[in-house]
Symmetry: C2
Subunit: 236 residues, 2 copies
């Protein structure tokens, strides 16, 4: 972790530990420089990172303010390394439904820039939050990039393994959402009724070099899941 990232983490912790609220003012840049004993450019980079993460906002000529609205148990649709972090106060477990090496579907092949004759790891699992079903997940991993998976790995956080175990750098993701009605098999795996509402999230995850490595479809239990998204006008 670089110095400016470390300091960003410390400022974030400071905000949490002191239960600072939306709109609360942080010390001025000079005070932060003294407090953390770093240069102005380091503090500036730390603040930029915190702004990107939606934790603070800066008003020119006025100061640095706390942004985060905290709603416990909401899953961020922007963080793209699994929801372990959003739900860290909850117990997340998995039940494996299916796991093998196979040819990708046409959709998966296209999303992963593969031929339909190439091979993927296919993982289908139900994830639980404090013992309740949270979601049903079907994932296709590019086998040329995610070279090895086994049952033990996939019963835990696969993204943790990808970054820590395989040392890969996760870059960006594209996610497509749609609401619909649960089909019979989905309902039965989630412990809901056929025809109940569902949120389907289709995602393509890329490494920092732009290679897509995971195409996944996640169907959420609507009774157990809530989401948040932070928007910025510069994103227009």
């Amino acid at each position: 972790m670089l110095k400016y990232q470390q300091i960003a983490t410390e400022i974030e912790k400071y905000i949490e530990e002191n239960s600072l609220q939306q709109g609360d003012k942080l010390p001025v840049i000079e005070a932060l420089m003294n407090q953390y004993e770093v240069s102005k450019s380091t503090i500036t980079k730390s603040l930029e990172l915190l702004e990107k993460k939606g934790i603070i906002f800066q008003v020119r000529g006025s100061g640095i303010f706390v942004r985060r609205h905290h709603r416990k148990g909401y899953i961020s649709l922007l963080s793209n390394q699994g929801f372990k972090k959003d739900l860290e106060d909850y117990q997340i477990t998995s039940q494996i439904i299916d796991f093998d090496v196979r040819k990708p579907t046409q959709e998966a092949a296209q999303s992963l820039n593969l031929q339909e004759t190439d091979e993927v790891y296919y993982v289908k699992r139900v994830r639980y939050i404090n013992g309740q079903t949270l979601c049903l997940e079907e994932s296709y991993y590019h086998k040329g990039i995610i070279t090895y998976l086994n049952k033990e790995i996939i019963s835990e956080s696969i993204f943790h393994y990808i970054t820590e175990g395989l040392g890969l750098k996760v870059g960006f993701s594209d996610m497509y959402l749609q609401v619909g009605k649960l089909q019979e098999e989905e309902a039965s795996l989630l412990g809901l009724e056929s025809g109940d509402p569902k949120l389907c999230a289709e995602s393509i995850f890329h490494l920092t070099n732009g290679q897509p490595f995971d195409f996944s479809k996640v169907t959420y239990n609507y009774e157990q899941s809530q989401f948040f998204v932070q928007g910025n006008s510069h994103l227009l």
Copy 2:
């Protein structure tokens, strides 16, 4: 619009007009400097903006690549100035259900930093896409900030009026999503069945100075709406 924003817009247009695909390589920085006749720092800022907007990604030592996955008709959950832009190829119209000045609900007052004795503009409307119901929207506007609204304004894009008419600068937004079942009144306004799936989006919109000015609840017609979200690992 500043120079670097102008150039970002031109590069974006270039990508669209040439139908460049995900992973296609753009010219190197020096070539872009020559092409647009600007300094390196301007191009760098343009590229940073495009990266934030999820249109390109940069790989150190390797180049600049096109990122955008285009799926027509998807509403971006990150852009926070209404969905006029995502749905520009469609006809968006509104039917006003309710419009008045009133006291905010407790929830709205809290979201807008108001007392329950303060006043808000209350707008309830159904929005249509090509004549089909798209969503039901209930909004509370801080009357101290959004000082004037009328029926003509609210039958069009309210955000367009806020930025162009009132000259306000929209900053960031926080959005909370939940899936559920339509209640009778919602279903009837959307032309669906009671108990059908719904996506509810609760948003708080802020000016660039951090003041919240709009608290809105939008209930989407699940048959007509699809969403996308772009994630970045720096957002963790």
